[in-house]
Symmetry: C2
Subunit: 211 residues, 2 copies
DNA sequence: TTCTTCGTGATACGACCGTACCATGATGGT
DNA sequence: ACCATCATGGTACGGTCGTATCACGAAGAA
C-alpha cells in the first residue's frame, strides 16, 4: 500500500481553511477553489476528502461547534478551579461574544448556519442545533445550583433567566459584528442582569426576611 | 412620448416579488430570473427598473423596512387609541416575532441582511441599520414615560431594559424560525420581563415607601 | 402623419462554480 | 522486483447567473 495519510487530520486542515475563508468573506461566498487555495492544496484534494460541497458544509458546522466547545472549555479553565456559578456563566456568555477575531468568526458563521438552515432542510436535519439547547440546560442548572446555595434570587425562574441571558448575548453579539454596539455596552447589559439575578449575601438575607 | 408607466409602482411590484421569493428560498438563493418569474414579468424588465442586482438588493431592504414599519403601525392601531406604554411595547415586540407568515419573512430577511452586511461593506454602508437604534430609542422613551407615570419600576435603567427586550425578541424569533422554540415560549419570556419592569400599582406604592 | 423616445421582449455572452474525468507519482506488501 | 492501490495534480464539461445587445411595438409631440 502507498503513502497512507491520516484522513481525519487532512479533513481538519481543510475544514479549518474553510472556516477561515468563510469567516473572512462570508459563508455564502466560499467556494471549493477558495478553500483549496486557503489550505494550500489543490482543488482535487478538497474533492477527494469531501466529495461534495454539501458534505464540506456539514463537516464545517460540526468542526465549528467542536472548536467553539474547546474555546469555552479554555475560558472555563482560565477561570480557575471550581469557580462559582456566576463566574462560570459569565465565562460562557463572554466566550460567545465576538470580542476577538476567533469569537467574531464563531458568531458570524454560527449565525449564518442558523439562518441558512431555515431555508435549507438538509442542513436543518443536521444535528448542530443541539448546542443551543445544551447551553440553555447548562445555564439553567448553574442558576438552580446558585439558588440552592443562596447565591441567587430564589424567586427567579432559572430556565427563563437562562433563555434570556443567552438570547441577549446572541443578539448583542450580532450588534457588535455590524458595528452597532460596543463590546463594553454588551458586557454592561449582561452584568446588569447578572447583578439582578445573583443577589449579594446581605440582600439575600433581607429578601428572605419579612416577605 | 409613449406609454408612461408609474416607475415607482412597478419597482414596488418587483420588490414585493423579490421579498416573496427571498422569504421562500432564502436571500442567498434569489436570482434575477426568479424575481422576474415571481413578478410575472420578463427578465429584461427587472433589469430595466433595477439596473443591477445590487441595486435590487438595496432597494429590497428599504422596501422591507417600510413594510415592517407599516406592520407595526397596524398593530399599534389595533391596540386601540392611546394604549398604555406597556401595550405599546408589547405590540412592537410581538410584531417583531415570526408568529405568522409575514413575520416569518420579515425576521428571516432582516436577519439575512444583517449577517450579509458583516461581510459586504457596500450593504453595510446602506442606511438600514437605523431601524434597530430607532426601536431602541422608542422603547427607551416608552419605558421612561411609564416610570414617570408610576407604572414602571423607577429603579430600572430604561435603556438597558429596552436593549434587553429587543435583543431577547430577536434571538427568540430566530429560535422560532428554526423550530427550536415555540411562539408561546417566547411570548412567555417576554411577559415575564414586562411583568418585572412594569410593577403593579400596589407594588409601586410599596416600593416607594420605606426604602 | 411622422418621428422620437419609452417600455418590453428575446437572446447572446462571458465568467464562475461544482463536479467528473484522466493521468501519474509514491509506497508498501508479496 | 513488481504491482495493486492510495494520494495528488491538471483539466475539461455542463449549468447557471448577472449583464449586455439587438429588436420592435406603442404612443404622444410636431
Amino acid at each position: 500500500m502507498p503513502k497512507r495519510v491520516d484522513h481525519e487530520e487532512r479533513r481538519t486542515q481543510i475544514a479549518d481553511a474553510f472556516i477561515r475563508v468563510a469567516g473572512r468573506r462570508g459563508l455564502h461566498a466560499v467556494g471549493m477553489r477558495d478553500v483549496a487555495a486557503e489550505a494550500g492544496v489543490s482543488l482535487r484534494l478538497v474533492q477527494y476528502y469531501f466529495e461534495t460541497k454539501e458534505k464540506l458544509l456539514f463537516y464545517g458546522v460540526q468542526h465549528l461547534t467542536d472548536r467553539f466547545t474547546a474555546r469555552v472549555g479554555t475560558r472555563l479553565a482560565a477561570a480557575g478551579t471550581d469557580p462559582g456559578p456566576r463566574a462560570t456563566i459569565e465565562a460562557i456568555l463572554l466566550a460567545s461574544l465576538p470580542t476577538d477575531e476567533e469569537g467574531r468568526t464563531f458568531h458570524l458563521l454560527y449565525s449564518s448556519y442558523s439562518i441558512l438552515s431555515v431555508t435549507d432542510e438538509a442542513l436543518a436535519a443536521q444535528p448542530f442545533l443541539d448546542n443551543p439547547d445544551a447551553a440553555e440546560n447548562a445555564l439553567t442548572g448553574l442558576l438552580e445550583q446558585a439558588q440552592a446555595s443562596g447565591l441567587a434570587d430564589p424567586g427567579a425562574d432559572a430556565r427563563t433567566e437562562a433563555i434570556s441571558l443567552l438570547a441577549m448575548t446572541a443578539t448583542m453579539g450580532t450588534g457588535i459584528l455590524v458595528g452597532q454596539r460596543s463590546p463594553e455596552s454588551a458586557i454592561g447589559v449582561l452584568h446588569h442582569h447578572l447583578d439582578r439575578i445573583f443577589v449579594t449575601a446581605e440582600t439575600a438575607v433581607a429578601e428572605e426576611g419579612p416577605i
